[in-house]
């Protein structure tokens, strides 16, 4: 019972947020959420630290239980309007549309949390841009290739979608400004 409650503990959420902040500030840096996932979903742990009734959420592939969605407290919204979107990385996004923000309010661009990613495996991505000293190599597996195509479609700085990849108890972030490729 205590382990299951871990994502919802305020102390744990502080640690999780600070860890995510570090990963967000340093794209490609793999961070460990440690025991705060309670052995459960790292994506839920990240969302629990960020969501409440002041934001909107879409569980695209129904990965959370009704109870977990209710406990997040975020208002349900369609994917194209939601501030936070949770999706299964192995699924084809097709022509999924997410909020990219506007030039007057680029912060309205969505945060996409992709679960079931194999961090450290798969094809190598070379990342560069703000937060990265030169470049960094990152291996991500289990991601349907169409997610990368979709990211290219969404991100046109300062508009775009910010990505959080989750795997086991680990997470890695790709804000919209991160460039992929040599």
């Amino acid at each position: 019972m205590i382990a299951l409650d871990h994502p919802w503990l305020a102390d744990g959420q502080r640690v999780v947020f600070r860890t995510v902040l570090e990963a967000w500030a340093r794209p490609g840096c793999v961070v460990n959420l440690g025991p705060w996932t309670g052995g459960g979903s790292p994506a839920l742990t990240v969302l629990a630290a960020l969501c409440d009734a002041g934001t909107t959420f879409c569980d695209l592939h129904h990965q959370l239980s009704k109870g977990e969605r209710g406990r997040l407290g975020a208002l349900a919204a369609p994917a194209e309007e939601a501030a936070f979107v949770l999706a299964d990385a192995s699924m084809d996004p097709g022509d999924l549309t997410l909020a990219r923000g506007t030039l007057l309010a680029p912060e309205k661009g969505a945060t996409l949390v992709l679960a079931n990613v194999a961090i450290g495996n798969g094809s190598e991505q070379i990342l560069s841009g703000p937060g990265i000293d030169g470049h960094v190599d990152l291996r991500l597996g289990g991601i349907h290739p169409q997610w990368w195509t979709a990211r290219e479609r969404w991100c046109e700085f300062p508009l775009g979608v910010d990505l959080v990849f989750c795997s086991g108890s680990r997470a890695v972030c790709l804000p919209r400004h991160t460039r992929i490729g040599a």
């Binding site: 305020a10 960020l50 680029p106 000293d133």
Partner: protein, 293 residues
């Protein structure tokens, strides 16, 4: 409502968390947020205070500086408040020991290192405020990257004074896009933001804005190609670089202390750096305590 660790309630903390992430994702962009009432008056560092309270952990070591000093009234009051609100959090006056540095007016002289986070108390977040009073029009200017009037202001300074007459809050372009007001740090410190190894988080409580400069990000002060940006020279009448009267440093930002009936005294503004050079790290008042004025 949870007013446990960090004073702020859960809704406020999560809103600041979301705002900070978006601020880092859009370097230099001012993210609006609902700045909360704090037990200090707006204008006394509530923006930085809210960021520190939202991100602090019990394992953090906090340093608060105001005008380079750890012992100024504002720095002491904010440090004590954060200390009381965050049980377990330690405080320090040493830059190299701190994991969380809340500042007003200065970036420490010692090089920062990954693992540290800089938090700024910002009075005026918008560099366009000096040329455009309407916030909605300023937002449109930022949206379209239109900083023409700011350039005109710099040009007018050159025509009138033969130099850009902005001593602090010098506008700087972040990651080639947004121009920020880097808070009232002197020009001497603006270059420290460029490709810095740490994240710089800016909070303007009164103006309800958050913005950020991620680590390893280009930050370029606005300057004309034929008039390069220059920091405060600290040169005497002979052209020699002034040195600190306490530690002798010739590479730090100096305060001028006027003396009655004598020439001004110049000394390091960053007291921790000065104390370190004097061999009394962590005791910036050492010579006052032990050797007299």
């Amino acid at each position: 409502m949870n007013q446990g660790f960090g004073f702020l309630d859960d809704l406020a903390v999560r809103e600041i968390r979301r705002g900070l992430l978006k601020a880092l994702a859009i370097p230099g962009y001012q993210v609006p947020y609902a700045s909360r009432e704090m037990p200090v008056a707006r204008g006394f560092g509530t923006g930085g205070l809210q960021i520190s309270l939202a991100i602090a952990l019990p394992r953090d070591r906090l340093k608060v500086i105001d005008q380079g000093a750890d012992d100024s009234v504002n720095a002491v009051a904010l440090r004590r408040f954060i200390e009381a609100s965050c049980p377990g959090l330690e405080t320090t006056t040493r830059t190299v020991e701190a994991t969380l540095i809340q500042t007003r007016h200065r970036i420490p002289e010692q090089p920062l290192s990954p693992g540290q986070v800089m938090v700024y108390q910002v009075p005026y977040p918008d560099p366009l405020q000096i040329v455009e009073p309407s916030e909605s029009r300023r937002r449109r200017c930022h949206a379209h990257g239109d900083y023409a009037r700011l350039w005109v202001r710099l040009y007018e300074d050159m025509v009138r004074f033969n130099e850009v007459a902005i001593s602090n809050r010098y506008p700087a372009r972040v990651a080639g896009r947004y121009v920020i007001d880097p808070s009232p740090i002197p020009r001497f410190d603006v270059l420290k933001l460029h490709q810095s190894p740490v994240a710089h988080l800016f909070g303007a409580g009164r103006e309800k804005k958050l913005y950020a400069v991620p680590p390893y990000t280009d930050v370029e002060p606005l300057a004309f190609s034929d008039v390069p940006f220059a920091v405060e020279p600290f040169r005497d009448a002979t052209g020699a670089r002034r040195t600190c009267a306490r530690c002798g440093a010739a590479d730090t930002y100096l305060d001028e202390l006027p003396q009655v009936g004598a020439a001004s005294r110049w000394q390091c503004n960053d007291l921790d750096r000065c104390a370190e050079r004097l061999g009394y790290p962590g005791d910036s008042d050492h010579d006052e305590h032990h050797a007299g004025p």
